[in-house]
């Protein structure tokens, strides 16, 4: 057995983060680790990485017992992490990243880096992973999937026998995900033990040999290969059955009005144009591969990168959107992909974040009324069920789902007419996901046109009334509700036509 954890416990004041957690991992095995955010996965991984010292329990690595690990011991015992938020140096090349801290040197006391030896050492690792880039490639030019490959190569170069992948596919395209899963299969063949943490149960079903499920710091189930499926895992994770995601609109979306996009040209694809109509009261899913131009479309609609050409109209009125300020003035709001960078000022309170886009509305003679903004924020906290002791709490201390609700609260405190969600539930746990979907549906039912960009297939299929699929900068097709299924979306996303109902695919 590569790794055995026995009765690991860890308490923080007032919180039992881990309680009697035991699991094991054999060589050549992929262990799926699932659980909602806050179930204890991260703390458990920090115990393995030597960052957090457990209060109780035993860690046994290769038959040797450790009451606790230090970071150095974890590394020496062959435990390597591929993190959710990548930790590569994008100002250096691939070889430098892979061998960081262990560079081959020459020149005696001068300790000059031996670039040739470094590249020679890294090239075979990349070849083994099937990478399509060389050791001399600057990391700045690589995609997120390729950067992840760099991290895995780094783990291999350290002779890692246990590789822990934490949400590795949250930023990957479908084909990149497939390639990663193939890489994992190859590593398993070579005898590496892998712990695979993901919210995407489909991937776990594909690649895991066994699954351990955590809830509230406890192991609530071990599943063998034959027992791994969505329903079982979901039930274990949340302790109940998840009801169907899709909620039909309360009223049929109105024709006419809404957000109309004609001949829109974005900076990312200057030779392609986009036509799209979004009805008030519907949720239009926008699917496609990463890099298909979906985020560029959102940025153009919100005025972050104004469109090069084309017309945008809302409720029949043509708009000129040159900045987020102008978009906001028209009631077009964006819930951005990277909420920590673009959605929130993490060091400010919930109240200050909620009032930020409409501060003039909370001010008299240029002076902010703290009472007014606190009331508005408190109203949002209650209606969105933001889990925080109060609105004076710093936004940065909240969990992902609650941060996303604060971003939503900014816009719901105003008058949305069209709301664009870019990856609305990335890094959000299952329970909060359901709440966010319900909020989106509530908005649509109030007559708001909702555009939801998502790379999560379950989400696209489960939430959208219609799905538009982008391929290389243009809308490849739009699917009505009854045509929305995974094969159809995939075909359009990869530039093919959907198999059936060819005639019913709306030509847009």
């Amino acid at each position: 057995m590569l790794l055995e954890l026995e009765g690991i416990g860890k308490s923080y004041p007032g919180v039992r983060a881990l309680d009697d957690v035991s699991l094991h991992l054999a060589a050549g095995e992929v262990l799926g680790l699932v659980g909602e955010n806050g179930a204890g996965k991260s703390t458990l991984m920090k115990v393995l990485g030597g960052v957090v010292r457990p209060d109780a329990g035993r860690i046994r690595l290769h038959g040797r017992d450790f009451p606790q690990l230090s970071v150095a011991e974890a590394g020496a015992q062959g435990i390597a992490f591929v993190h959710q938020e990548l930790s590569v140096f994008d100002n250096l090349d691939v070889a430098a990243n892979v061998l960081m801290g262990r560079e081959p040197v020459w020149g005696g006391p001068l300790r000059l880096v031996d670039r040739r030896a470094a590249r020679a050492a890294v090239a075979p690792l990349l070849a083994r992973l099937g990478a399509d880039f060389g050791p001399e490639a600057p990391v700045a030019t690589l995609s997120i999937a390729q950067r992840q490959m760099v991290e895995i190569a780094r783990a291999l170069s350290m002779q890692a026998r246990i590789i822990i992948l934490d949400e590795p596919t949250s930023s990957l395209t479908l084909s990149e995900t497939d390639r990663l899963l193939a890489t994992i299969a190859a590593l398993r063949e070579a005898g590496t033990g892998i712990i695979y943490i993901s919210h995407r149960l489909g991937e776990i079903t594909t690649c895991a040999d066994r699954v351990t499920c955590l809830r509230d710091g406890r192991v609530v189930g071990h599943l063998a290969r034959g027992e791994i499926n969505h329903a079982t895992m979901t039930r274990l994770m949340i302790g109940r059955d998840l009801k169907s995601l899709y909620t039909p609109p309360a009223a049929v979306p109105r024709e006419g009005g809404g957000l109309r996009i004609e001949g829109l040209v974005t900076e990312a694809f200057p030779d392609r144009s986009i036509d799209l109509a979004l009805r008030p009261g519907e949720i239009l899913g926008l699917a496609g591969l990463v890099g298909a131009g979906r985020t560029s479309l959102a940025r153009a609609l919100f005025g972050v990168e104004p469109a090069l050409a084309g017309r945008i109209s809302l409720g029949g009125e043509e708009l000129r959107i040159g900045s987020p300020r102008e978009a906001i003035a028209q009631g077009i709001y964006l819930v951005p992909e990277d909420r920590k960078r673009s959605g929130l000022v993490l060091d400010m309170s919930i109240a200050e974040n909620v009032s930020l886009p409409d501060l003039d509305g909370h001010a008299r003679a240029g002076l902010v009324s703290g009472g007014s903004e606190a009331r508005a924020a408190e109203a949002q906290r209650q209606s969105l069920r933001i889990r925080a002791p109060g609105v004076a709490v710093r936004a940065g201390t909240l969990s992902g789902g609650n941060q996303q609700k604060v971003v939503l609260g900014k816009w719901l405190a105003m008058r949305p007419r069209a709301l664009i969600f870019d990856e609305p539930t990335r890094g959000v746990d299952v329970g909060a996901k359901g709440e966010i979907y319900a909020l989106m549906r509530g908005l649509a039912d109030r007559g708001v046109a909702v555009l939801m960009i998502s790379s999560d297939m379950e989400e696209v299929i489960g939430v959208s009334d219609r799905v538009a699929v982008m391929h290389e900068g243009r809308i490849a097709g739009t699917l009505a509700r009854h045509e929305v299924n995974e094969p159809n979306i995939l075909r359009l996303a990869t530039g093919q036509r959907p198999e059936q109902h060819m005639a019913t695919v709306e030509a847009v």
């Binding site: 004041p13 007032g14 400010m348 200050e352 969990s399 900014k410």
Partner: protein, 328 residues
Amino acid sequence: MGRKELGLAVLIVAIAAITATLNPQFLSTVNLMNMANLIGLFGIFSIGQGLIVITGGIDLSVGSMFALLGVVFLDLTANMGVAWPIAVLVVLALGLLMGLVHGLLVTRLGLQPFVVTLCGLLIYRGAARYYTGDSTISLGYAEGLDGLAWLAAGRSYGVPHSFFALVIVAVIVGVVLHRSVFGRYLFAVGRNEEAARYSGIRTGAVVTGAYVLGGLLAGISALLLVFYTSSVSPSSFGNFYELYAIAAAVLGGCSLRGGEGSVLGIVLGTVLLQVLQNLVNILGIPSSLNFAVMGGVILIGALADRQLARRRSAPARVAAKGAVAAAE
């Protein structure tokens, strides 16, 4: 009053008490009013510096601005006989304009504040020296300036007017920074420019506004300083004053990363610097050690602040971790 301001106030009182014990002259009215005058003079432009630091920028050019604005003012009044209200307006407008140019270079052309204002430091100093042929201009020849001289360098109830000026500026900027929409935007932009932009804030205008305000406050300071020294020698007037301002802002709790700071803190930072200067004089420490004492105290202050912050956050961090783990 925040924790930082309180700590600073305690430090000031402690240093003052020690100094007063060693030399009771420290608490004499003459000495206190002399200090108040200097605190007023340095506090005003330190507040301007603080505003810029809160946006995540820095202004290295203020010392040179004083030299250039000072010689312009004296040339207008002493050599050309321009009426002082006009000369004052010209100086304030010039200060404002320099701030505007800095702001636009930073926001529109995307240059780094350090580079922009470093060039300002060099250009304005050079321009001031060229303007006068490197010779000192004195206030002595000017006529009809008595009214302004009283306003700028006079005293009421024994308290120097520069100190009153600082109080007024601090109150106004304090309200603007801590209560107004513009102030909130300054903090938001300093903390996370992108999120501010995504919230519909004209971030460029906000940052430029800070530089413009900084320029205006530098203009006011230039006038007060001219009447304090009653002459301007363009090669040395205002030398290193930008560093006093940065030191006061940093001592007062402004983070050079932006998004943090308070007017009260900056004023207290200025007070501490002036108390230190005064202490060097009054305790008979060789005045050549002046800068070394100041640097030493700032360093110790920064270290103590860091240690206190660590000790405070150590239990808090564990609790926060637990809370996050529980909330997720």
